[in-house]
């Protein structure tokens, strides 16, 4: 079965600094999703990547997909306290409607 490994597991950054979270798949990626979860709440969809080399941005968050490496990275520029939370990646095991597989999450804290 497919597994997603996220790194780092947790991250503490100073406000204003840039950071990157990685998500590596054990199998071919057909679709990669990024979510954010505020502590104790549900997940909020951030963006989806489908094609190798694809890059998407939402405000100060940019995600890229490297199909060959079976990896996606999430980059936050000039972090703010509002960026704090748990970031999870999810992937389609195969193309279609099978349930998503999730990484274990990266806990981000932003300190002033």
């Amino acid at each position: 079965s497919q597994e997603l490994e996220q790194s780092p597991q947790s991250l503490i950054v100073q406000e204003g600094k840039n950071l990157t979270i990685n998500c590596t798949s054990s199998k071919t990626l057909y679709g990669l999703y990024w979510y954010k979860q505020k502590y104790g709440e549900g997940l909020i969809f951030l963006m989806m990547l489908q094609k190798g080399g694809e890059e998407k941005s939402h405000e100060k968050i940019t995600a890229k997909l490297d199909e060959k490496k079976q990896q996606s990275s999430l980059h936050i520029t000039a972090s703010q306290p509002s960026h704090a939370g748990i970031y999870l990646c999810g992937a389609d095991p195969i193309s279609g409607n099978t349930p998503l597989v999730f990484g274990k999450g990266t806990r981000l804290s932003v300190i002033a």
């Binding site: 104790g40 969809f45 989806m48 489908q50 409607n97 999730f102 274990k104």
Partner: protein, 114 residues
């Protein structure tokens, strides 16, 4: 504004009680899912449903059952709650049949079994 709602944000139950967690979505999605989330274990799929009255086991179905009598509602049932079922439960739904789709999550129910 599309929504997935869950019946309770916080729930405290006693060991042995029967527990119902309700999830309702207003997006006419075919697919609905129940996950539990635990520290260090991430999200794990309990059950999912592709259609009314249809259900499939996920990775950790033991101790749980589900019901989908209507398209918009997917219920998770703990037949006899145990302390190891203390967790955050998340419901989600997805549009089927399109190349681009998003999985929408409910706010979660934090269940404590004492």
């Amino acid at each position: 504004d599309v929504k997935v709602t869950q019946s309770s944000r916080y729930l405290v139950k006693r060991t042995g009680e029967k527990v119902f967690l309700e999830c309702v979505q207003d997006m006419d999605h075919e697919n609905m899912f129940w996950y539990r989330q635990d520290p260090g274990l991430g999200l794990r799929l309990i059950y999912f449903s592709y259609d009314v009255k249809m259900k499939e086991k996920g990775d950790i179905p033991e101790g749980y059952s589900v019901s989908r009598e209507k398209k918009e509602r997917f219920s998770l049932i703990l037949e006899s709650a145990s302390t190891n079922q203390t967790s955050m439960y998340l419901c989600a739904s997805i549009q089927r049949g399109t190349s681009l789709y998003e999985q929408y999550f409910g706010p979660g129910t934090r269940l404590t079994v004492t």
